[in-house]
Amino acid sequence: MIEWSLAQGSTFAGQIDGLINLIGWLVGFWFVLAQGVFFYLIIKHRAQPGVNAGYVTGDEEYPKKFIGWAHWGVLACDVVILVFAVQTWYDVKQDLPPAERTIRVIGQQWAWTFVHPGPDGKVDTADDIALVDELHLEEGVLYHYLLESRDVLHNFSVPVFRLKQDAIPGRTITGWFEPTITGEYSVQCAEICGIGHGIMGARVFLETEDQHVAFHEAHATNTPALQLAATSVGADR
């Protein structure tokens, strides 16, 4: 259902959307069933003059068995959802496929700093490219991100990737994604971080290989980035 309004921009976006649809169908079934029975009973058993209500304790076999079915039915659906949910979670958050490239993402009040590896493909080296509120990624490359925060909690959220991760001061959190499309999309801060929270958005540029090379050339030597990257952890101490 999500994909209707939002492109699937990463390898795991489809998996997450699939999980959401699965849950949608399962709980939708129970929801419609419950509401249906509910309103049916309300309409059917409206008070009529001279007709008394029945006396049902709930221990009788006949009506109680339906509750029993519903009970096990819900449990079964939960188990199905559980399997797919944990599988998705494992693939997206827990498992860490080997990185082809690593970027450093630093949140602070109220801007994102993205440290891109330079042409050498390694982060924390001399040719790093550090940009504020601008993230350039190459399509089809598996990225690791090292997420840090300078001050308060932030949340590195890229809806088009179906990706969210809190940035915690004093922690470096590693995650991964692999862009599968090109174009310009928004990066959000999805954890309240003070009065500037509302404007702490950034743009992510998903580029083809040539575009990305061009990006590297555009930002050749970028020494401030070196300090920034090197001190990004130390600065907090």
């Binding site: 399962l26 419950a34 209500a53 009970h71 915690i168 003070g194």
Partner: protein
Amino acid sequence: MAETIEMPEHGHDAHGDHHHEETFWSKYVFSCDHKMIAMQYMFTGMFMALIGGFFAYVFRTQLAFPGAEVMFWGLVTPGEYNSLVTNHGTIMIFWVAMPVLIAAFGNYLIPLMCGCDDMVFPRINRLSYQVFLLSAIVLIASFFVDGGGFGGAWTAYPPLSSQYEYSLTPLGSTLWVVAVALEFVAFLLGGINFVTTAMNSRAPGMRLYDIPIVVWFIVIASVLFMASVGPLIAGAVMLAFDQTLDTGFYDPNKGGDPILWQHLFWFFGHPEVYVVLLPAIGMCADVMTTFARKKLFAYRTVLYTAFGTGILSFTVWAHHQFIAGIDPRMANVFTVTTLLISVPIAEMCFVYIATLYKGSITLTTPMLWALSFIAEFLIGGVTGIFLGASGADVYFHDTYFVLAHFHYTFFPIAIIGVFMGVTYWYPKMFGTMMNDSLGKLHFWFTVIPFNLIFLPLFVLGAAGQHRRIYNYQHYPELATDELQALRVLATVALWVMLAAQFIFFYNFFSSLKNGKKAGNNPWKANSLEWVAPSPPGHGNFDEMPTVYRGPYEYSHPDRLKETGEDYWPQNVPS
């Protein structure tokens, strides 16, 4: 102690005389009478609800018409917006849902339904309200101090909440923490009263399974509260120290850890959901059985599902923190428990629905509220599965989908539940009936707009709209006309709903004078409070009742054969 146990049960005659010479102060302000304290809690809660509603009006208007002058407020700055949403949440949960549902109805119903004349510790009860009132005053004061009210969301995650240079609310955040801590103390005092009264002071003959579900659920809720709030009280002390004394409990640079607060908060925060849910859904049982003239379907199942939910609710808290930086392997554990807890709650709803089977349903105003509670709460329940499943939460976390989800649980609890309780017990509280057609009008103008507010928010959340943003025009994907139209729809619906509340207040106060006299038992209900006169005097009952059966013996064949009555009050000997 022993000698007091055999004390003869005519105590209320002894004090019956001394409540004649009561002054205004001793009767309305410093009263120890559980009914008066319930009223104090209820009216304080309703007043806070007006503030919370007004905040909602302000920030919804800002979202629909960004940068426009909001009537009665003016321009909404980002700082003000944060403070508004923060205090809207805080007020609605801690100063509306808790005091009205647990404190007000707990105070009013537990002694009456258990057939005793008052709470076991009337003066502790009074103290509880006074501390609560103080906490409310402190919170309101925090809006007007230098820097404005606290704006770090009602979850108050440090370091934003613990360091002024980040939150920019030097006094607001400290007063906020103090107010919340005081409020917890108030409810601890109240909760002890509720639990001991229901455990120890039930009318002779009232066995465990003769207790009305609403009393059971309020007691379970109080126990959940008392068992879960401790860590947060400790956490609040640490947070206040971090703010004022510059300690480093939550500051990683001083060897602390921000995640600790999240655990302390949600260890309380999730049981808290059930703390407010249970009283409301418990009222549902009493109202639905009364107006369906039906015995509650499987009383014990309802009770066991509540126990199950209560225990499980202590094991699910970290599903609020899936992507908040907790270890991914913990998330799997909490996904399992979270999906498990859906089973008892779903079963409870099924049992309630089954209660209507073979009923004889009259759609009075309280019944409409009760039925809408189930209908709306089901929406809140099923959307919770999306968020409890860790894989899907990766996308949904902190979007408007979450917001719509918990409003679909909290609105039935804090608004529908309260109106259900007020309209149902109003005759007992004030001795007159509310106007039913006005009540129905108010019902439809509240429930329909409510759905128009929050159904669009599900769509917005699915489209990736994240929370606590004062203006979405900064995000091209979210600034489209379609999405903006949804925001306007929600806001307009909110205006209608808020306006409709005046119908309720008019009905409430005019019925005090003009409402037609209600007898002791206008709804022909079974439980003990309907035995007492309406409104009950200082000792509640003219003579202390004795219980012979459960509270839900409606349309019992024997009773119909003997008397033709379809209800069988608990205190009537067979």
